[in-house]
């Protein structure tokens, strides 16, 4: 593979590598995906938990995101139940975050003299995370390619200072810069001929299998149990890690938060299976939010959460 094959306009992985280099140059730590199923890059503790508390933080990472309901058995050229987000979080947000974002588009081959970039109002809210922020959908020639959010609240706590969050929809951006109409036609590795691996080669079968699983097969009895188990585990870890000495520090915020993530994903699966009624739906969302809030409160009592040692 030559460097040209890894150009952001020729390969999906080239796009990812370019964004990683760009944000690394801005002082971000480049993390790897969180090793749990999540609905969006925001759930990664590097965003949710690190957005809380006074400590500065800069990170960027790819996060596979699972939206069981968006499965289309591999038949829709634009919709996937598993896709990649590229997530950037900068706390506090630098004053030139918009300019940095535009420079990142330039870096991946979007010529700002040719393309119409727009910041269109889109206020972000995650009911399950008890989080909200103001910002935009970023449009490139009428297509939403990123979300740009100034976090105001996470896990029910005010963000002080505010973090800026950027979420790039990687498949969409790649389709745009590669000029491809169907996500499965994306060139994944930049190779040509026999050496070419497409997005479809990597993920089409998975989309078909997981669509079947999400809509038809996922064991709902088991999932209901798992939801309750995760909820219980989250609470018990929070209790077990509660401050015991004069330092006042919480000692198990992150393992507890894992269980919150788990509950959230299990809920999404149950929702996709259509076994949660409209009224119940709200109460499940509330239950996850309560866990998120409790984890956020615990995090704020940790060192990384900014709690001073007593």
């Amino acid at each position: 593979m030559s460097d040209a094959d890894l150009s952001p306009t020729r390969s999906f992985q080239g796009l990812i590598l370019t964004l990683q280099r760009f944000w690394a140059a801005q002082g971000c730590v480049i993390l790897q995906p969180y090793d749990m199923e999540v609905g969006a890059g925001t759930f990664h503790p590097a965003t949710t938990l690190r957005a809380l508390g006074p400590k500065p933080w800069k990170a960027a990472y790819v996060q596979p995101s699972r939206r069981p309901k968006d499965g289309r058995y591999g038949e829709n050229p634009n919709r996937l139940q598993h896709y990649y987000q590229f997530q950037v979080i900068l706390k506090p947000n630098p004053p030139n975050l918009q300019e940095l974002y535009l420079a990142s588009l330039d870096a991946i081959g979007v010529d700002l003299k040719l393309h119409d970039i727009r910041f269109v109002e889109d206020d972000w809210e995650s009911p399950t995370l008890g989080a909200w922020g103001l910002g935009w959908e970023c449009w490139c020639d009428g297509m939403e390619v990123s979300q740009f959010t100034y976090f105001q609240q996470v896990a029910g706590f005010e963000c002080a200072p505010v973090a800026g969050e950027l979420t790039y929809g990687l498949e969409r951006l790649a389709m745009y810069v590669q000029g491809v109409e169907n996500v499965y036609d994306l060139n994944f590795n930049g190779g040509e001929g026999d050496a070419k691996v497409t997005y479809g080669d990597v993920f089409l079968q998975a989309e078909q299998e997981y669509s079947r699983h999400n809509f038809e097969a996922a064991d709902t009895a088991m999932l209901f149990r798992q939801f309750t188990d995760a909820e219980k585990a989250c609470r018990s870890y929070l209790e077990a890690g509660a401050p015991t000495d004069e330092s006042g520090r919480h000692r198990m915020a992150q393992p507890a938060y894992d269980q919150c993530i788990k509950a959230s994903h299990v809920f999404n699966l149950l929702d996709a299976r259509g076994v949660i009624s409209v009224t119940e739906r709200q109460s499940y969302i509330l239950r996850v939010r309560e866990l998120a809030k409790a984890c956020g409160a615990a995090w704020l009592k940790t060192e990384s959460g900014g709690a001073a040692a007593a």
Binding site: P54, Q98, V162
Partner: protein, 753 residues
């Protein structure tokens, strides 16, 4: 005179907030100036996606000097009083005060305080920070390092810089010296984000507007709208197409660009298989683009207009291609929704509606549909519709709510139902009524004419009204979350504009019984139907009586409703339907007022018992209005008022009501005018009553108009308060007979003037 220029440059402001924010800025600044005594000649505010700007013209350079006299204590008063006076007047010693002599009370100290007029610049520097800090954005945020501290500046999106200058046209204006949370006002701004990113200096409004234009920013929203509209029309015309104009969209896109550039894109002809409304909805909602029609037709063209914010180096080719690609993907989605939806019959969607809660206290959509279907079937014969068709429509009318297309574009509800119904071969009336049952939406929407549509439209609205009345969720003040005023207006317009004769109380109580049985009863559909049938057989529409017959109707229908529930429904029918009727009366007033009718006449008609036939109410109000426009009418009203006044005074004096009929023999024995009034009253009342019974309200008014001469003659010559008590009593009863005669057509006491 000097001008103020203020610009607040920020990151992108939501389009929907811009116009209001500009107006708020203008009002807040000018109000604060006026409050401090600074008048101005004119003020105008502007908004673009990135800036709010304000120009206040013709301010004075400084405020007027103020001279104030403050009276102090008496000369020789205790020292404490004197010290207090000096302190409050800001004087160092008594030397700085003068004295005045009050002829009665003696000599007093007087402080003359002269304050020079304040520099306008200073006042602006004092006013502006507070306005910026407390700006009434619908939603605002904190940002950056400053947000670590509580109380940091909030703005709609991060505020980047402030321009604030003040000064006369002929000189270099001065910077208004202030800063807010570390942002210091100056003279530097920026132009278009991509076309002119370099900062530049501005001095005053005139050069500001020009400098912005050079930097590819058109400050005035209305100018941007004009440019977009004209360019859009021209581009369309050049291709033989018509622009489908859309004011809401135009306003929004004008708030998304500082330098509008209109471009045309196209899509494949094959997408035109998708219903035109769905194409428009997706292109509008998701892409904020305009659709086009083939010139002179109603048919959509396979093209759209987009408004970009960039003069691109390739003339917009890449932008157009990009937008086309997104539009194509969206239309593919829409077509997928359409095809998917077609695969499932509307009927097969009903079970899904059983699982969707309409309102926590009013059950599921499925239950609601069953109520509306039963009610529509009952209303159908009253409006000349086939009951079976009406029931069919009502069963299917909400099914499209669970289609993919309506899930994606809620504004297509009804319309998609119609399309899908036609495609599955429903009766044309059924298909049409599925769309029309929502109508009329608002005061200018079309009123359906097909009887089937009318029956279901009425049933839908009445079920909603009665339901929310039953759970006490009535509109209050400006709050009407369930659009109940609109529903009531819909009923009124249907009745009036289609000339429908309906007893509203019967309809609302039929609807109410269904709602309450759903909420509290364990009754089958058949049983509920039997109850409605037997209730209708009684044919009673007087509410008092109606409440009673429900009891019998329950028995007669042979259904198992507890005594307690029957009582409750009896009671509810009385209170809820009556309350709803007065709501209808209020809405009718608004409706007729818009058409020029007097609200007091509507009151005068509703004050009569049993007025629940809205069409007759309207006709009666019209006849009454026409009658009161004539001399006969005016005089009779004057005569009535005179009679009513006399009665009121005498009834109070005597402590009794003169409510009985006059004695004919006694009247005949009295003065000739007395006799002829008595005769005229008998005749007029009988005639008016017969005319009202025949619904001939003009005839009833004519009958009353014959009273004018005898009433006038009576008051001219007859002394009501005669010395003879029997004579007096009978004359008062005559006046009461006049009062009673007018009540055949309306309660004249409610009429003003």
């Amino acid at each position: 005179m000097p001008d103020l220029l203020l610009e607040l440059l920020s990151e992108e402001i939501p389009a929907r907030m811009q116009r209001r924010a500009a107006e708020d800025l203008r009002k807040l600044v000018t109000d604060a100036l006026v409050e401090r005594g600074f008048l101005y000649e004119g003020a105008k505010a502007f908004a673009t996606p990135r800036r709010l700007a304000l120009h206040v013209a013709g301010l004075p350079a400084r405020g007027e000097a103020v001279r104030e006299e403050r009276r102090g204590p008496r000369v020789g008063a205790p020292d404490a009083a004197v010290q207090g006076f000096l302190k409050s007047a800001g004087l160092a010693s008594l030397d700085q005060a003068t004295t005045i002599t009050d002829p009665k009370k003696g000599e007093f100290y007087l402080a003359v305080i002269e304050r020079p007029g304040r520099e306008t610049l200073d006042v602006l520097a004092e006013i502006l920070p507070g306005i910026i800090k407390n700006f009434p954005w619908p939603k605002s945020m904190r940002w950056g390092a400053a947000s670590a501290q509580p109380g940091s500046l909030r703005w709609v999106r991060p505020l980047q810089s402030i321009v604030a200058t003040f000064g006369p046209e002929t000189e270099n204006p001065e910077i208004v010296p202030f800063s807010v949370d570390g942002i210091t006002a100056g003279t530097t701004t920026r132009g278009h984000r991509f076309l002119a990113p370099e900062p530049f200096e501005v001095r005053r409004f005139d050069d500001y507007v020009q400098a912005l234009e050079r930097a590819h920013v058109i400050l005035d929203t209305d100018r941007r709208k004009d440019i977009i509209l004209h360019d859009a029309r021209d581009l369309a015309f050049a291709r033989g197409l018509d622009l489908v104009e859309d004011d809401g969209l135009l306003e929004e896109v004008a708030g998304l660009v500082e330098w509008p550039v209109v471009l045309m894109g196209s899509f494949e002809e094959r997408f035109l298989e998708i219903p035109a409304e769905a194409i428009r909805a997706t292109i509008r909602a998701n892409q904020k683009c305009f659709v086009l029609r083939k010139s002179g037709t109603e048919e959509l063209a396979p093209a759209f207009l987009l408004v970009s914010n960039l003069v691109a180096s390739d003339g917009g080719a890449a932008i157009t291609a990009g937008n086309e690609r997104v539009v194509r993907a969206r239309l593919s989605d829409a077509r997928f929704f359409f095809e998917t939806d077609k695969a499932t019959g509307l009927e097969d969607r009903l079970p899904k509606l059983d699982t969707i809660v309409f309102h926590e206290k009013l059950g599921t959509q499925g239950e609601r549909i069953a109520r509306i279907a039963a009610l529509a079937k009952e209303i159908a014969p009253l409006v000349g519709a086939d009951p079976a068709l009406a029931e069919r429509v009502a069963r299917l009318a909400k099914a499209d709510l669970v289609t993919e297309m309506v899930g994606e574009f809620p504004e297509l509800q009804g319309l998609m139902g119609r399309k899908y119904a036609a495609l599955q071969g429903e009766h044309p009336s059924v298909a049409a009524a599925i769309e029309e049952h929502y109508k009329p939406v608002g005061p200018s929407d079309r009123v359906p004419t097909d009887p089937v549509s009318i029956a279901v439209a009425l049933a839908d609205k009445l079920d909603t009204l009665v339901g929310f009345w039953a759970i006490d969720e009535k509109p209050t003040g400006s709050k009407d979350p369930f659009a109940l005023r609109r529903a009531a207006l819909g009923v009124i317009r249907l009745v009036n504009e289609q000339g429908l004769r309906l007893r509203l109380n019967l309809l609302t109580s039929l609807a109410l019984i269904k709602v309450q049985l759903d909420r509290f009863g364990e009754v089958s559909n058949d049983q509920a139907q039997a109850l409605s049938d037997s209730l209708k057989q009684f044919g009673v529409t007087d509410l008092d009586a109606q409440a009673d017959v429900i009891h019998h109707a329950v028995e007669k229908a042979g259904i198992d409703v507890s005594e307690e529930l029957t009582k409750k429904i009896n009671n509810d029918v009385y209170t809820i339907c009556l309350s709803l009727l007065s709501f209808f009366a209020d809405r009718l007033k608004v409706y007729l007022r818009d058409q020029g009718a007097r609200h007091d006449l509507i009151d005068a008609v509703f004050a009569l018992p049993g007025q629940d036939d809205l069409l007759l109410v309207v006709r009666r109000v019209e006849a009454l209005g026409a009658f009161l426009g004539t001399d006969d009418g005016k005089n009779l009203l004057a005569g009535y008022k005179r009679a009513a006044n006399i009665l009121r005074i005498e009834e109070k004096k005597d402590g009794r009501a003169y409510g009985a009929a006059p004695d004919a023999a006694r009247a005949a024995a009295g003065q000739p005018e007395e006799r002829s009034l008595a005769e005229a009253l008998d005749a007029a009342r009988a005639e008016a009553s017969a005319a009202v019974a025949a619904e001939d309200f003009s005839g009833a008014m004519r009958a009353l108009s014959r009273l004018r001469a005898p009433v006038d003659a009576f008051f001219e010559t007859v002394t009501v308060n005669a010395d003879d008590p029997a004579l007096r009593e009978n004359r008062l009863l005559l006046l009461n007979a006049l009062r009673a005669a007018t009540r055949e057509v309306a309660d004249f006491s409610r009429i003003e003037g």
